[in-house]
Subunit: 207 residues, 4 copies
DNA sequence: CATGAATGAGGCTTCATTCAT
DNA sequence: GATGAATGAAGCCTCATTCAT
């Protein structure tokens, strides 16, 4: 009985989270009422409240759910012995996010979560953690690149990571607001061109 | 009287918009009630409604306001004859956004606006336009870089622009969610290191 | 100067009342805001308030305005020596109300006023007075008809008046809700047929 | 459970409608706030909104409710084989409306509904339908009277119906605005006197 | 476990009215 | 006399949440 119950509970949780994610992707957090989620999930208010104590907790659970997905993705990308070229790494990451996580609506939810994270501690922890993990991962990548001599030996891996971490959110934003011109291949090509840039010496920054 | 009145109206508009921006930066769009804005602006409901017909219109006006600011910034950056190095351009842009627009709270509002733009047509136009302008500007920059031989002659300027356009939003996000480690100088340094990356040939992408 | 001023005041009053009547006929009392009337009249809030101390007073003034119109109409109808046939009297009354007062929108305002009269003392006085006058007039008509032998000598003129008083409001209602089938000629014909009705003796009412 | 629930829902609907009708009769549609209805019904805002989606819908439901009542009344009046005298028919109708429907407040609501019907499509349909039904019924009555030789063979039943349809609304109005002098018996007497009127020939209408 | 009716605080907005200019 | 910006109470309605069944 405990096993059955536990399975049942888990199935219910998923059922609710899927419904919520779908609503959130379609209408946004704030325009989605719990009534919408009740309807979408086919469950009653009481049932949903048995599994999640508030709307915030529901949002938090959805936000939290992408952490393992992203973690798995990151691990997978670096699974190989040798580090692929940087544009390839970014492309794989983008591909994972857009092609694999995208269809479930997570990508559409991302900007909602970023916005909410600024004022909601729970979401802040979830999203900040996710972004922090990604940046840490890029820092490790930068270190390896530096150690392999593919980045200047005196470079700051964290600084490099900050730039690289920017790309995926920026790409998501462009896809959602400007359309799907901003795709994985284009990003790779753009990055590839950039990495070959002729960095001419400058004698003094204007800043 | 007409002139005075017009000035007065304009002052009121600003007064309301400043109050709203301040509230939105502090609490976010959705947690800010109109009552908050009435209080912050020192005006009554009716007075605010004389200038803006709804909360949405107020948000839209604030979103629309950053377009000229950003346009001016972009124009200013490229004022000089010769194109500065790319990391310098990015740094100037980031500096303008963070140091000049930041204090008024616009930067904190940005993610709210990105999120809202996905479901609110008016905001979509405003924010999409802004982001589109920026990308177009980067496209022009990329063309010049290519023409000056600082990017590969066969590169796609738009692809480059997509990557470069990503950086500022990604940076904003990191600042807001992970803290001010992600600053202008670090970004410049990271980008500088990247642009010198040793792009080793790869015999086949995994994608 | 006093003369000029008085004329001016009177012109303003009319200007406001006409605008108000027009709005009320178009949208109803409650859906018409004072702002609507300011716009329609081309005057400012302050100007209107100089002439009428409240929306209610404005409505009251409009209601009061029809009293002399109706009084004149009634007097005119009975101007002749001999009383016309009853269906003719009703037809003239209906004609006066619908054709002469109708175009200004008064007829469309009537049901609004009836409704308001039930809860607003000022309007109650105005509309009740009007309806009472009409009924009193019909009572006089019934008395004359009885005295001329065209109604049974033992009939109650007031009872007759109550029935006759009903016809015009009922006609207005039908015109407004069911359309203009209910016109003056049809009413006259219907009444004419009824007045010739074969009143067969009944031995006991079911009431 | 289903049966119980359905009954429960129906009871709630009635509870709300009764409360609303009572408020509306007391204060009129516009002076009655939803808060008044919540208080009168003993329910909360949310509860009322579960059953009626807006104040308009509530008003519409009340308006719609009188249609079957009136229909039943009309059917009942003509239940017998032979047509009673016309004044008797009118008296029965008036009696039904005033004595049976009156106490619930419907009669006091009628003028409100007439006024609203002019600008509110839903109410227009409800009230227009009601009035149209009544007029149609009177048309049938007039046809029978004509066929029985109690109205001129060449008369227009619809014209007769228009006059007869006027009486009840006109009576309601007089009761509400001038007091209860205008009662069923007086109306019957007045009509009785009228139907015996000496319709003297006229050589030309003044219209 | 599940249901769904009920709660009620609080949000956005309107509009009659006032008053400094 | 006239203007029209400003006021602020009050209205309608939504929705996260609770709880009796």
């Amino acid at each position: 009985m405990p096993r059955v119950t536990e399975e049942h509970r888990e199935r219910r949780r998923r059922q609710i989270l899927d419904a919520a994610r779908s609503c959130f992707a379609r209408k946004g957090f704030h325009e989605t009422s719990l009534q919408d989620i009740f309807k979408e999930s086919g469950l009653s208010a009481g049932a949903v409240y048995r599994y999640f104590r508030s709307k915030d907790e529901l949002i938090g659970a959805i936000a939290a759910r992408s952490q393992p997905l992203v973690a798995a993705l990151l691990e997978e990308i670096l699974g190989e012995e040798e580090l692929p070229p940087l544009d390839e790494i970014v492309a794989r990451f983008a591909h994972g996010v857009i092609e694999r996580m995208g269809p479930s609506g997570v990508v559409r939810i991302a900007p909602q979560a970023w916005a909410l994270a600024m004022y909601n501690p729970t979401i802040h922890v979830a999203i900040g953690g996710l972004l922090g993990d990604v940046r840490l991962w890029w820092t490790r990548v930068a270190e390896r690149l530096r150690d392999e001599g593919r980045l200047p030996p005196d470079c700051d891996p964290k600084a490099v990571a900050i730039v690289l971490t920017s790309i995926i959110p920026g790409l998501i934003l462009q896809r959602l607001l400007l359309g799907e011109d901003a795709d994985v291949e284009t990003t790779r090509a753009g990055l590839h061109a950039l990495l070959a840039v002729d960095q001419r010496p400058v004698e003094g920054s204007a800043l």
